[in-house]
Point group: C2
Chain length 283, copies 2
């Protein structure tokens, strides 16, 4: 496994792999790798011949007052996990390699980004789409892998790729979870043991919602009420949003019919956590 | 020479050419091909093994009230010129192929686009950068060729490619001109014979500016005054802008030192015409 820091090096290594007839799988990350990332690397390894992981804490997707500075960084532990997951190449650029000059070109997806997490995280998705466009242009993968946990991100990236005819496929993989059901996230490191216990209520409330849908409840208002009720069992969880939305447009829906997304964002102390579940009335 | 209308066909033909070890040159156009386009095709043929020309009157770069509907279209004459210039492939999609759904993803270059033509043509460059990003992603050329006549466009596209790490090189080729000096443009078709004569004053005024720089004048205000004086010889030319700007940032400069751009936009009757010249004090 190579670890490279420059764009020129990535391009050279990938060009060689492609020259050997290999398909390229790509997992973009901000490091602090965990079971969720590992499951993406494994999916990439199953689908592609050559797996590239990028590790880059992208400053342009953090808003003012967000956790850019304290975001966890540990390249050696990350490299170990990549090696264990049979990754072929890590691209770990410095900020100066990705943004040598002040960036004035942006890729932006409208409409999908002003809802859910876009409401509270201004400019976040503009930073995400732009850095993903850059990384896709650098790595030129056949398939890029994203986690269902960041559901809105996956929807936005998919739309960007479709609208702009980017020559790759986006594959969204299931959310990896702790035993407790808590969605694995780099930000779980910020939680105390007690907070972790309470955080398990997020998935419990999504499961409650799923259960109600299975029992025939399709009214979004009632489903949201039930989720709020479940989360209220925690003394510390502050709900940022609970929405039931269309899985393509992220627009609120009054009734679940076919596929939909139940999505939650909460604050637990200073830590912001998100999770979601795909609802499906057809099966 | 093939003429194809779908993205899938372009990709297939280009993939085959690349598989044969050929380099890909690309000339994006809106059709109504003229000597300027032909010079780009020839430049592409000299530099690359396989030349792709796109012909697409892109609706998203026309503002309300602009000439989208009356913009000249003649695919057969265009194909003839491409054939004569040894083009290998024409991509001539319908609007529905390029924009099957409402486009909500955009590529935008800030700062460079709110000056010169960006002042009067709101949203124009956002349409240009987005369609170029789409076309680059479809054709995947090694080199794309643009004309110096649309100087600001070339500067903006170059910056987009750099900022977003797009895997191609932008080559800017000299402006093709009529005998009179008038920059060749598809919009010259709109001009009467008398207007054409007056339009020659645009280049004459740029040459005047160049001459003064050669004689040692570097004060932008004085150079602009001289150009205004020359244009005033026409009874019908209405100046939209005359600027002397930095050739990378398009910012106005008070004094010419090294390379700079003198750029003009005028209206002649209902027709908007632009032209520019590169100034160079270094010799």
């Amino acid at each position: 496994m190579d670890i490279v820091k420059t764009i020129a090096q990535v391009r050279e290594v990938v060009r060689k792999a492609r020259g050997d007839g290999k398909t390229i799988g790509f997992v973009p990350t901000m490091g602090a790798l965990h079971g969720g990332h590992v499951s993406l690397m494994e999916a990439a390894g199953n689908k592609c011949d050559f797996v590239v992981v990028s590790i880059f804490v992208n400053p342009t997707q953090f808003g003012p007052g967000e956790d850019l500075d304290k975001y966890p960084r540990d390249i050696e532990a990350d490299a170990e996990k990549c090696r264990a997951a049979d990754v072929d190449l890590i691209f770990a650029p410095e900020a100066g390699e990705m943004y040598p000059d002040k960036l004035i070109s942006w890729v932006e997806v409208e409409k999908l980004t002003d809802k859910l997490c876009g409401r509270s995280r201004e400019g976040h998705f503009k930073g995400v789409t732009t850095v993903c466009a850059k990384l896709f242009n650098i790595v030129l993968p056949d398939i890029a892998f994203f986690g269902q946990k960041d559901a809105q991100q996956a929807i936005v990236i998919k739309r960007m790729v479709t609208d702009l005819n980017m020559p790759l496929v986006i594959k969204v993989c299931p959310t990896a979870r702790e035993q407790s059901g808590l969605a694995i996230s780099s930000r779980n490191q910020y939680l105390s043991e007690d907070e972790k216990k309470q955080a398990a209520l997020i998935y419990a409330s999504l499961q409650k919602c799923e259960q109600l849908v299975k029992e025939g409840e399709t009214n979004s208002e009632k489903l949201i009420e039930a989720m709020i009720g479940k989360l209220a069992e925690s003394p510390c969880i502050i709900v940022e949003y609970i929405n039931i939305v269309d899985s393509d447009t992220v627009a609120d829906i009054a009734r679940v019919s076919g596929q939909a997304l139940a999505a939650i964002a909460v604050k637990l102390g200073n830590t912001r956590l998100i999770d979601n579940i795909i609802l499906d009335t057809t099966g």
